[in-house]
Chain length 689, copies 2
C-alpha cells in the first residue's frame, strides 16, 4: 500500500521546466524539429502518412493498427473483449477459452463494431469562427456553431463519401475536419484466453512489472471479402531494446492539462467524487451478481472490466488532484499565463476569461450530477433503455434540419448509429433487470441529497423500484431487432402510440433529459468561448508547441524505452515469460494470478527469456489502448495496453518521473502465437513478403 499511494510531491516542479517527451501531437502539426534535435530523427511525410493510414480507431473506445495488406488488424484483448463476449454463448465461451480462426471462413463477424481510419485533416477554424458573431448570446452562438459544423460535415460527406467529423481542439481555439475510411464488417480472427490477456487482473492493472498478452486480431472486410489495406505496419521480429526511441500512434481519449484551476477544482470536488461513487456502486453490483453462478459471471464480465478499469484510473486522477503540490503547480502556471494588463490589442478583456469559466462551474456544481444521471443515463443503466431512448429521440430529431439536430442524430452519423441500434448482439433480460434496478436505486441515493429533480417519484407512480424495473424489462420487446426496426420505420407516430413499457419510460423522462442537455450545452458553450480566448494567449506565448488536450482522435506520441526505480528497487525496461511464471507461483496461482491450462502445460515449449511487456516514456492516456508502438523504421515493435499508476496523473500533468506506458513486446506475440497457439497461418501472414 505504501507503494500504491506513493506521494507525487517534488518531481512535478522539476518536470514543468524540462518538458521531456510530453505531447499527444496532431498528425498535421508534428514536432519535427524537436525530434530532429533531441533524437536526430527525421520524421518524413511518408512515415507520417503511413502512420496515419495504418492506425485504426476502434469506436468502442480504443486504438489498433493494420499489420498485413489484407485487412488484418491488431488491438488489445480488452478492447476486443466487448465483441469477443458478444460472440460467445452459454455453451461456447470465447472470452474464457480463447479463439483462433484457421481459415478465412472461420472468422466471426462482429455484430456492431465500427473501425475508422483517418485519411485527411482540414483546418476549418476560420469557417467555424466566422459563423459566430461577437454580439451573439451563448445560446445563439451555440446554434450558429452547430449549424456551420453540420453544414461542413454534410458537404464533406457528400463530396468524399468519407465519414467526416469536426474536432474541437484547444477547448475551442481550433476546429479541424477529420475524414475517415469506415469499416463496419469486422471479423474476429484470434483471441487468447482472458486469463493471460489480463493476468493479475484488477490487482495488477495500472501496475508494472506486468505479464499480459493483451492482444487480439480482427480483419476488416469490404463487400464480403477481406479489404485491401496497403498501408500497414510490418511486425518487427526483434522488437525494441532498452533506450530505443519509440512512437505511439493512437487515439488518446481525454486529458485535462489545459483546464483552468477553477475547472480542475470542480473536477476534484464534484465530478470525480460523483464518478467514483457511481463506478464503485456499479462494480459492487456487478461483482455481487457475478458471484451467483457461472452464467451470471459470464454476463457480468462484459461490464466489469470497463467499470473496474475506470474506477482505478479515476481514483488515480482524483488522488492526483488532491495532492496540494499538483494543484499549487496548476495555480502557478495559470497565474503566469494570465495577462497582467487589463486590455489587449483586440480589445477583449482576456483576464476575464478565467472568471467566466469559474462562473460556469457554479452551474455544473449544481446540475452536473443530474445531467449524468438523467441525460447521460447513469440512472437507467440498461441497453434496452438506451435502445428505447435512441428510438424516441430519432423520431423527433430526424424530422429536423441537420443543423438543429443533436449531433449524434445528424444524417452523417446515422449509419454508425444504426449499426448500434440494430445490433443483433444477445441481450439477457435477467441481467438487464438487475442493472436497471440497481441504477434506479443509485438515482434514489442521489435524490435523497436533495439536489436531483423529483423525477423518481414521477416515474415510480407509487410503485417500488423493483416493480418498475421488472415491469419495463419483462414487458419490452426491444430485445427483438425486428421490433426496433418496426419502430424506427414507423417514425414519430409509431413511437407516440407505442405501448412498449420501455419506450413509455424513455418518453416520460425525455423532456427532463433534453432540458438538462440544452442547459449543459449552453454552459459548456460559455466555457468554450472563454477557453478559445485563453488559447489565444497561450498561442501568443508558446505558439502551437503545446499539443492540444486529447480528443479521441489520432495523435502521435514519442518516448524512449526505459525502466525506472521505485523505493530503491530498479524495474527493468522489460519483463520475461520466466518472470510471469515466477509471479504466478509466488501468488500460489490464486485468481487473478491463475494461468490458462495452455500456458501451464506449454511452459516447456517457450523460450522463457522472451521479453513479454516493456515500458516507455511516451505520452499516452486512456483510448491509447491497442495503439501500435513503432520504431524509427515505422515497424510495429509492440502494442500499448496500459499506463502504470505513476502515469495516472498524466490527465493533468505530464511527467516521466516513474510514469510509463506499458506494451506487449512484438517478440512475445510471435513466440506465443507460434509455440502455444499453433497460429502458423497468422504468423505467416504477418511476415509475408
Amino acid at each position: 500500500m505504501n507503494r500504491l499511494f506513493h506521494t507525487m510531491i517534488g518531481f512535478f516542479v522539476l518536470t514543468t521546466a524540462a518538458r521531456a517527451d510530453e505531447g499527444m501531437w496532431l498528425l498535421n502539426n508534428l514536432p519535427k524539429e524537436l525530434l530532429k534535435k533531441k533524437y536526430d530523427f527525421d520524421l518524413t511525410d511518408a512515415w507520417r502518412d503511413r502512420a496515419m493510414k495504418a492506425s485504426i480507431r476502434f469506436n468502442n473506445g480504443g486504438s489498433g493498427s493494420f499489420v498485413s495488406p489484407n485487412g488484418l488488424a491488431i488491438t488489445n484483448h480488452h478492447i476486443g473483449s466487448d465483441l469477443i463476449q458478444k460472440l460467445s454463448t452459454k455453451e461456447k465461451d470465447l472470452h474464457k477459452h480463447g479463439f483462433l480462426a484457421r481459415t478465412i471462413e472461420d472468422e466471426l463477424k462482429c455484430p456492431d463494431l465500427e473501425l475508422n481510419v483517418l485519411q485527411e485533416i482540414i483546418d476549418v477554424t476560420k469557417d467555424v469562427q466566422d459563423a459566430v458573431k461577437p454580439s451573439m448570446k451563448p445560446a445563439e452562438a451555440l446554434a450558429a456553431r452547430k449549424a456551420i459544423m453540420a453544414k461542413i460535415i454534410k458537404n464533406s460527406l457528400a463530396k468524399t463519401g468519407l465519414r467526416s467529423d469536426i474536432v474541437t481542439l484547444y477547448h475551442g481555439a481550433q476546429y479541424h475536419l477529420y475524414r475517415y475510411k469506415k469499416y463496419t464488417d469486422v471479423r474476429l480472427v484470434m483471441a487468447p484466453e482472458y486469463q493471460i490477456a489480463f493476468f493479475g487482473g484488477d490487482s495488477d492493472n495500472f501496475e508494472y512489472p506486468r505479464y499480459n498478452l493483451d492482444i487480439c486480431f480482427f480483419r476488416v472486410y469490404e463487400n464480403g471479402r477481406p479489404a485491401s489495406t496497403p498501408n500497414y505496419f510490418k511486425v518487427s521480429p526483434i522488437g525494441p531494446k532498452d533506450g530505443d526511441l519509440v512512437f505511439v500512434s493512437g487515439h488518446p481519449g481525454t486529458t485535462n492539462r489545459l483546464e483552468t484551476y477553477a475547472h480542475l477544482t470542480h473536477r476534484r470536488d464534484a465530478t470525480l467524487p460523483y464518478m467514483l461513487q457511481m463506478l464503485r456502486y456499479r462494480e459492487a453490483l456487478l461483482s455481487q451478481y457475478a458471484e451467483k453462478g457461472k452464467e451470471q459471471r459470464r454476463w457480468a464480465q462484459r461490464d466489469l472490466f470497463p467499470v473496474a478499469n475506470a474506477r482505478k484510473a479515476l481514483t488515480g486522477q482524483y488522488h492526483g488532484l488532491l495532492d496540494p503540490a499538483i494543484m499549487a503547480q496548476k495555480k502557478q502556471a495559470e497565474e503566469m499565463l494570465k495577462p497582467k494588463g487589463a486590455k489587449l490589442p483586440d480589445s477583449i478583456i482576456f483576464s476575464d476569461s478565467w472568471e467566466r469559466i469559474s462562473r460556469a462551474q457554479t452551474w455544473f456544481a449544481d446540475h452536473e450530477a443530474d445531467y449524468f444521471l438523467i441525460e447521460r443515463g447513469d440512472a437507467f443503466d440498461s441497453r434496452l433503455f438506451r435502445i428505447a431512448r435512441t428510438l424516441v429521440r430519432l423520431a423527433d430529431e430526424i424530422a429536423k434540419d441537420d443543423a438543429k439536430r443533436l449531433p449524434e442524430y445528424r444524417s452523417s452519423a446515422l449509419e454508425s448509429l444504426k449499426l448500434q441500434l440494430f445490433s443483433p448482439a444477445p441481450i439477457s433480460k435477467e441481467y438487464e433487470q438487475m442493472k436497471l434496478t440497481g441504477s434506479l436505486y443509485f438515482l434514489a441515493e442521489y435524490q435523497g441529497r436533495g439536489n436531483a429533480s423529483l423525477l423518481l417519484p414521477r416515474i415510480l407512480e407509487g410503485k417500488s423500484i423493483p416493480d418498475l424495473a421488472g415491469r419495463v424489462i419483462q414487458g419490452t420487446k426491444l430485445d427483438d431487432v425486428a421490433e426496433r426496426k418496426r419502430l424506427y420505420d414507423g417514425g414519430k407516430n409509431a413511437i407516440a402510440i407505442s405501448k412498449d413499457p420501455m419506450i413509455a419510460l424513455a418518453r416520460m423522462v425525455d423532456s427532463d433529459a433534453r432540458s438538462l442537455r440544452s442547459d449543459y450545452d449552453e454552459q459548456d458553450e460559455t466555457r468554450t468561448q472563454a477557453y478559445a480566448e485563453i488559447a489565444k494567449i497561450r498561442f501568443k506565448k508558446f505558439g502551437t508547441t503545446i499539443a492540444p488536450d486529447a480528443t479521441f482522435t489520432l495523435r502521435l506520441a514519442f518516448g524512449t524505452v526505459q525502466g525506472y526505480e521505485v523505493d530503491g528497487v530498479k524495474l527493468g525496461h522489460a519483463t520475461t515469460f520466466d518472470q510471469m511464471y515466477a509471479r504466478a507461483k509466488e501468488q500460489e496461482h490464486h485468481h487473478p494470478f491463475d494461468l490458462p491450462k495452455r500456458w501451464v502445460d506449454g511452459k516447456g515449449k517457450l523460450d522463457l527469456t522472451t521479453p513479454f511487456n516493456f515500458v516507455s516514456t511516451a505520452d499516452t492516456i486512456g483510448g491509447n489502448s491497442g495503439s501500435p508502438v513503432l520504431n524509427r523504421a515505422g515497424e510495429f515493435v509492440g502494442i500499448n495496453f496500459d499506463r502504470n499508476r505513476h502515469g495516472l496523473v498524466r490527465n493533468f500533468v505530464y511527467t516521466d518521473h516513474q510514469a510509463r506506458h506499458v506494451s506487449v513486446h512484438s517478440k512475445a506475440i510471435i513466440e506465443s502465437l507460434q509455440k502455444l497457439y499453433g497460429a502458423d497461418e497468422l504468423v505467416n501472414e504477418l511476415f509475408a513478403k
Copy 2:
C-alpha cells in the same frame, strides 16, 4: 435478480392488523398471556431465569449461550471470527483451517473479548425522570440525566460488584438498570473452517436455503480455571421439527419500528445513503487489498465480513424504506397515533412532539455525516488512531467527575475499556496505513460536497494524504502495548508532551470531534424528550404490549419453525447435508461455494439426511447472531445466525410473510463434531449428565 429485489407491496397491510409473532420482549415484561393463548405455553419464572442466566452477550456484537456447567459457550463463527483471526498468525491460519482444543490446556486465550451475562433488571425510570425538571433547556436536561445515570450506575457497581448499565427503552420513556456478570478471560475451544461456516459467502448471505456450520465454542474462565456455570442449556440431540414453537434468547442490536415518519425519512434520505457509500467504499478498498496476496488476504478478511454484511443488511433496509407501500403504512400508523385534541390532561402539547423530532432532523441532515466522519471516526479508520483517541480522551476525562464524563469513560466502564486499549492483538502497520489512507480519501470525497468542516486541509498542512498517513502510521509507537500503558499512566501531561505523530493527530482533531459530539448529543436529547412523550401516548393506547425497539440487551422472541414460498417455489423448514453437496456441485465448487477438504473427503462418513439449517418466524435482528434457539423445555435446539432477505425490513416493520431467521440445527452440530471433527471430548461435555 428478479428474486433478490422482489417487491414487498401488499402483505404489510395485512400484517399490521394481525401482529403474528412480533416482539423482542424484555425479560421483565414477557408476553405470558399471549404465549398461553396462542401456543398453550406456560412461561414459568424458572424457565425465564435460566434463559436469562444462560444467555451471553458477546460485546464484540453478538450473542451466545452456555451449553455446559463448566463455562462452555457456543456462538456463531462469524461472531468469534474476530478473535479467531487475532489468534492466527502468518504460519497458522485458524480462520482458514479451523481449530480444536482437545484438552483444557490447548484452549487459546482471547486477547480482548468480554462476555456479559445478565443477572438482574431494576426499573429506575422514576429516579431518572425526576432528575430532569420541565424548565430545563435540552443541554441542562442532558447534563442532569447524565449525572443521575452515572450516580445510579456507580452505586450499583459499588453495591454488587456487577457491571451495571442503564438501558434507555422506548427511545426515552423507560430506564432500566441491567446488572451483568462479566467474563474477560475467554478461551477458544473449537472453530470449524471459515469456508463451511460461511459456505456461499456474500452471495448466499441473507438468503435461504442455507448450508452454514456457523458455530464456534469458547470457554469462560475465572481465576485461571474454567468457570462454573450452573445455568446452561442442555443440547437437544433431536432438534426442532416443522411447526414447533421455538424461542430465541439474544441481544438484538437496533430496530427502528417506533421511529417517527420524519426520522425514518431522514434515515432513508441521509443516514442510509451515507452509510452505504461508506461501506461500499471500505469493501472495495479491502477487497482490492485482499487481492494482492495471501498475507494481505488474511489481514483484510478481519474487516471484510462485517463490512460486507452491514452493506447487505443496510441495502435491504434502504430498499425497504424506498418502497412507497412501507412508508405509506408508517405514515398512516403515525396519523392514527397522534392525539386529535390540542391539549391533553397533563397540559403538554403532545401533538407537537412529532414536529420537534422533525425539527431536530434538520440538524442531523446538515451535520450527521460530519459526526460520522470526525467523531465516530469514519475518516480515521485505523485501530492505531482509535487507540490514540482513547488515550487522548482518557487523559482529559479521567480528571472529571463521573457525572460529567463521556459515558464510555465513566469509572464503571474503565475495566472494559482497558481490556480493549491494552489488547495484545497483533497490528499490521502496512494494513493500518492502507486503511487510514483510504478513509482520509473518503473524508476528502465528502468535504468536496461542501458540507464537511475544513478539517482536512488543517491536518494535511500542505502535504498529501499518503504523506500524512505514512508519517503517522510509520512514526507511531502505539502498536506496542507497553507504550500505551506508559501514556495511560502518564496521564494528561504525558499526552500533552507526547511527540507520537498519531497522538498528535488525535489531539489535533479532538476539539472538532468533541464539539460535534456535544451538538449531536444535545439534538438527540431533544428527540429523546419528544419520543418519551410519544411513548406515553402509545402506552395509553396499547399498554406495554408493544415491545420497545432493540437496544443490544437481552430479549426473548418466539415463533414457529416453518418454511415458506417464493415465486411459487416451496422452501422447506430445513435443509440437509445432502442439499449442501448438491449446491456445491451445481456451482462447480467455485468460490464461495468451495468446501473445506475435510468436508469433501468426509462426505461418506456423514448421515446426509441430517437437517443442517432451519428457519422460524421469530422476531430477530442483527445482534441476535449466536442466539440459542430453545424449545418448550428450554433445551438448545439450534443457533440463530442470519435472517433471509425478506426479513431485512424488520428494522422498520415486522412481517412473517416469507421473512424468517435462519439457524444451525442442533443435529448438524452434533453430527459434524462427531463424524468430521472427531471432537468427542466436546460432544461428551455437551451430553454429560
